[in-house]
Symmetry: C2
Subunit: 769 residues, 2 copies
């Protein structure tokens, strides 16, 4: 952990550049607009340590799988969104000295991420041996309004003497991934061209043949310059030589357009990039920037969280909301959210169950329905692949992959790939969560039924009937707690399997009454029989759930009671994190829990448990949970809040709030924990404010963490925008937009209408801990 | 399965060469002498499919580990005995046409492995387009009497016309492994030299720096020839041009010496090879061959098995005995037995628990004590490494590696490396087995105690005391049945752990009384306390063993009873082998057993069980066992014989008897199943003849498989050689050498003395099956 960045409500500020920390800063300073993302790399040459990263959503390379011993069913490849053509590059020479911040003397360095307006600005002054001092400013953004456009404004000003400047804006396709299993180069060059003031580079990914055209165009705010066309293999650039007098500010605007064959026919991909970049240049920097910031303004209007009395928390939550919005915009159902977004190579930009379990609630509450619907449609579109995936394991129905970009499984550890099947439940749960929040029940009839049916079929085939005990079991699984592998009867898995079967049965009931045509269509298409539905009911009735009777709680799995009954208190601080100190077998046979497992089920099905029972489960499992997944603390925070463990809730929230800003796990150099950022949002909105949709109604039962003076947040709910403020022992609810709404506060009915703020005293919900 | 080789009591004969089957034939035709081994590759150029293999015992390269996801404790490398300098090469041209059996027309091909005398002979006639017919004969052996020497006699005879011959004997260091994780070349060249009629090549393995010198010398049985020295990078040869008249037989004798820095100081390795090869050439082919065959004669005298009425079985058992003797000679305690010996790249020539569990009994009964003692000393020498290995897992004592060449773990799957800890028990059991058979109790005091102590310490730390149940458990293991991973309380593991503790306590008792000095020395050196011994007793008393009460048997592990209770009969033939048809998760949650697990324990501790109890266990577990390890059927065969399931015993024996000769598992192309060959021997000697050492006495209770007319075998036992013959409803026991011996036949006392054959009627031991 390191407090490296300056605290500011709307900015992330790096001063006093530390080269050893550059990768972390590059991750934090990443920009993205859903369509593409870039790490905060320098525009000019830099020979110090750096992870270059330009990523294009949905453009992937299937990197051949690496395993120790091959097992039947392992995927052939791990897809990776590859590092793509570097388009930010602008080489800088002053008086023929190439500027490289790893070598030149410089001062007044700052790198600032402006979250309000979505841009990155860098400032520094180069101090030359000739006693010349030259100030550089770079400002860049990936347009939120035109998602194929990027713009860089590069300004140079000599503070004292005349200088001879060379600026070389370029496009570089000679880029590699650090993480390439067999050191492969992922790209094939196609065409390239360089004119004066414009050029392009078109490449294709190997094997998958995604065509990507990157075009640039530039403008200088001065007429007298010389320009040369430079060209190498997979590299084009313009060398601009220009004189600058003392205090004259030279401004180079570099416009970039990136187009891909995901969006256009291959033949026109290059043409599109060229025309788009030329249109962008014509529109000009100011206009593009205005449109871009307007888009960000809209986002903040719908989803900002204000925290009072804790500037570091304020900065952190905005950083999280900002990065989530940079990663996924929800316009394209072919895209999804990688655990690192577009901020590094780790996890290859692929999709995990993080999306359904953690990110969906954030998008539900901060964007219009179509955005979360698109997250659901992503899985709907992959249904056939999920059926193939189940088939590979010899099972009926659909098994959604653990890790994917195109619906095919990419994960290559048997204990995860083949056994961590609870993920399938999260896909079903997301449908329920979406319908519950949006009330868009028609989704069930249009898209939900086939997905729910095939997942149910998978469960029905995967369970095993135990004649002797007349019950159903699920053997050989890995639960959400990946510190247990190949266990029998993971309660969470058994629970979500049965829940899926029941919800599917309910969905059919609903469709039968409300959408009889579609009901019949799916029944036929899916070849559904009464026998099958009865079988589901039977499984649901006779499922076995392991228990720890002594504690009156559900057991994480069969045999959990035989583990050594120690808690985190019994192990030395130096042993943590376990995954960096213990061998895998020691972790597996220990009672320690990586992330919410039984509690994940309680979180999903909170209303089925009494407060007393939730407490028992929390009291037993939390002291055994080491939270070595960034997705863990938020769930515990929400449950802690639910049972009045308010301090605990706040402590848990702190574990993820500034995870990347303070490099809490010392791995932010790899990229940001994007999906876990949604967890922080959840901890505040579902935890501190206890927002729920219950009986088709919005509920709040908030508390105020002691460390804060107050907080407020916006949510969108069924075509309304609400602002909830918790401050001065009061909860204020304001309907900023939309029709009046009945809701519940502390279980009491209330109605909000525009122009009238509801004010209710905060309840003290603390219990002794 | 394919019956490809001709049946012959002493030979393996290949006629009608099938290029598609060449790799299998190369494996089967492998030669070895404990120090080195070569696959049955052709001497002359061959561009068809072939796996070139020259392996030097104990010379290894540490190939960087490949894993999907790294886990703490994974080994850095997988050691591999690399393919070494090809020394068999003799290029042949006739009338300037290069002879390549993949291209030239040939007839009368045969490749024959002579097991009695330990050589490989190849014959074929080349039919040239010029209508010349040239007969080639190659005969080679790796000397059993001088284990650094190899000899090839290459004869060429034109059957009809004069020919111009070019023979190029060479040494080629440009050899690679097909199985190289990162495609590395494993060798560094050092020096090379070529003279007329002699040359050498010295190379070093990369990273490990084993220096290997290969020297050659050759003689032609004709004076008029031209010779050229040829030299390339890592390659030396002599091009000999000679005329041959019709029917003149030209004979080229190529002598090879291979020396390594395992045996000599680096500086003299090359000199040694050069002087040894020159001495060999001076000694000459005939003398070397005579010494070689004498050595084989001695081996057969001590260990032959004769089977009457079943020539295929006769050939097979001799093949197994032959290959075991080619692989390991027991002169060097630094060496051990790889599952594939020196016949292929698979398993890298490394050591598994196969040695202790399967091979040791063979060597005990067919070689003098020093050979099996050296197998034990191999582990004694690795004790410090085994302690480090336990330390890496955070555990006390010693954990012997799953796979090793120098004492360090090489296996890289957590479920095996970290969890298949029962292997440790086999190391302890081997000491017991050795002492039981040889009565060499002093081994305990000299070497056994520290090994037993450190293994016991490992168990004592690895068990977990369960307060509530007041018993000890072992969680998170993989048993011998590798179709279960990360299970709790594998009965076999718990059993062998407790057995180790008890045996260690007994060993201390024995040493205290009989070797008080050494007892005290070890007690001090090992810092052994009474408390520790008491702890071991406590664990032994309170160990928990899972049971299947319904069947009155031990359960393979906790939860086994919850598996689907189906047997092999319930799955289609087409699903087998499971490991080629089922995904890993399906295998894991099925009840199917890869290889003896509970029955491995019963096999080890046969005397602790009643016949009735053994029957119950066999009846339950055998129908659930798919025998997908070549090491499985022999154990079941022995137990089947024990309980009178004689047909079953014979059926099970058949599954391994001709495993490689008939390519039963379709994987002999990779190399031979060397360690499983010991299992076939066990099935006959411990199964059919029911040989045991019980109460310090040799026991036999033989039966005769219906398919055979009779069988007889030799064993060495405490400085005696016995011949046991089962034939004509009679068992004959003859003491061929040594002092009189009291033994038991069908539990009845008897005494054998030289010159007087004991004859006892065979008992009918069949039970209904």
């Amino acid at each position: 952990m390191r407090k490296y960045f300056e605290v500011d409500p709307w900015k992330i500020i790096e001063e006093n550049f530390d080269p050893a920390y550059n990768r972390v800063a590059e991750s934090v300073m990443s920009l993205g607009n859903g369509q593409m993302g870039i790490r905060g790399n320098f525009a000019e040459k830099y020979t110090g340590d750096s992870l270059a990263g330009t990523y294009l959503a949905g453009v992937y390379y299937p990197d051949k799988t690496v395993v120790g011993w091959w097992k039947i069913g392992y995927p052939e490849y791990f897809a990776k969104v590859p590092n793509a053509t570097n388009f930010i590059g602008i080489d800088l020479s002053i008086d023929e000295e190439r500027i490289d911040l790893a070598k030149v003397d410089f001062s007044d360095f700052s790198r600032e991420l402006n979250m309000k307006e979505g841009y990155l600005e860098r400032n520094f002054t180069v101090n030359l041996a000739t006693d010349k001092h030259v100030q550089i400013t770079e400002k860049r953004f990936l347009s939120k309004s035109e998602n194929e456009i990027a713009v860089i404004r590069y300004s140079v000003k000599s503070l004292d003497q005349n200088i001879m400047l060379t600026l070389t804006p370029y496009l570089d396709g000679n880029v590699r991934n650090e993480d390439a299993n067999y050191n492969d180069y992922f790209w094939n060059p196609l065409t390239q061209e360089i004119k004066e003031e414009a050029g392009f580079l078109t490449m294709e990914t190997r094997k998958t043949n995604f065509r990507v055209a990157t075009a640039m165009n530039w403008q200088l705010n001065k007429a007298n310059y010389e320009v040369h066309r430079l060209e190498e293999d997979n590299w084009v650039g313009n060398k601009i030589t220009v004189k600058a007098t003392a205090n004259e500010e030279l401004i180079l605007d570099k416009y970039i357009a990136v187009t891909t064959s995901r969006d256009y026919k291959k033949e026109i991909v290059t043409k599109k990039a060229v025309s788009k970049v030329s249109a962008a240049a014509k529109k000009g920097y100011q206009q593009l920037f205005r449109e871009h910031t307007n888009a960000w303004q809209k986002i903040w209007q719908d989803s900002d969280i204000i925290i009072e009395g804790d500037p570091a928390a304020q900065q952190a939550i905005r950083f999280n909301i900002f990065q989530l919005n940079q990663t996924y915009t929800g316009e394209d159902p072919r895209l999804n959210i990688g655990p690192k977004g577009f901020t590094g190579e780790k996890y290859g930009g692929l999709t995990y169950w993080d999306t359904e379990a953690y990110c969906l609630p954030f998008y539900l509450a901060t964007h219009n329905n179509q955005v979360s619907k698109n997250l659901l449609l992503y899985r709907y579109r992959h249904l056939e692949k999920a059926k193939e995936n189940a088939g590979k394991l010899g099972l009926a129905g659909a098994l959604y992959p653990m890790v994917t970009i195109n619906g095919e499984e990419c994960h290559n550890e048997w204990e995860i790939t083949f056994e961590e099947i609870h993920r399938n439940g999260a896909i079903a749960y997301a449908i329920f969560d979406y319908v519950r929040y949006t009330d868009d029940k028609s989704y069930l009839a249009d898209y939900g039924l086939p997905v729910l049916t095939e997942i149910s079929r998978f469960w029905a085939d995967r369970v095993q009937y135990n004649k002797q005990k007349n019950n159903y079991m699920i053997l050989g699984v890995t639960g959400p707690n990946e510190y247990e592998n190949n266990i029998n009867n993971n309660w969470y898995t058994n629970k979500i399997a049965v829940w899926t079967l029941n919800y599917t049965l309910q969905a059919y009931q609903y469709a039968k009454i409300n959408h009889p045509d579609k009901y019949e269509m799916w029944q036929q298409k899916l070849n559904l029989s009464e026998t099958e539905l009865k079988k589901w009911q039977d499984i649901s009735k006779k499922m076995y759930y392991p228990r720890l009777e002594e504690y009156d709680i559900y057991a994480q799995q069969d045999g959990y009671q035989d583990k050594e009954q120690i808690t985190k208190k019994d192990i030395a601080e130096s042993e943590l994190p376990l995954n960096q100190n213990w061998s895998w077998d020691k972790i597996l046979r220990s009672p320690f829990i990586k992330q919410a497992d039984v509690l994940q089920g309680i979180y999903f099905f909170l209303d089925e448990f009494t407060r007393e029972s939730i407490k028992k489960h929390f009291d037993y499992y939390e002291p055994r949970t080491v939270h070595e997944s960034s997705l863990s603390p938020c769930v515990y925070a929400i449950i802690a809040a639910e049972i009045g463990y308010l301090k605990k809730a706040y402590q848990l929230y702190l574990r993820t709030a500034r995870l990347d800003l303070d490099n809490y796990n010392e791995d932010t150099d790899d990229g940001l924990h994007i999906t876990s950022m949604a967890g922080t949002w959840l901890a505040i909105v579902k935890g501190f404010a206890r927002m729920k949709v219950k009986n088709n109604q919005l509920n709040f039962s908030p508390f105020l963490p002691e460390a804060w003076d107050g907080y407020s947040f916006k949510i969108l709910f069924r075509k309304r925008r609400l602002k909830i403020t918790i401050k001065n022992d009061t909860i204020l609810i304001e309907l900023e937009d939309g029709q009046p709404l009945k809701l519940k506060i502390y279980e009491q009915e209330a109605e909000v209408i525009q122009g009238k703020v509801i004010s209710i005293p905060l309840k003290d919900q603390r219990v002794c801990q």
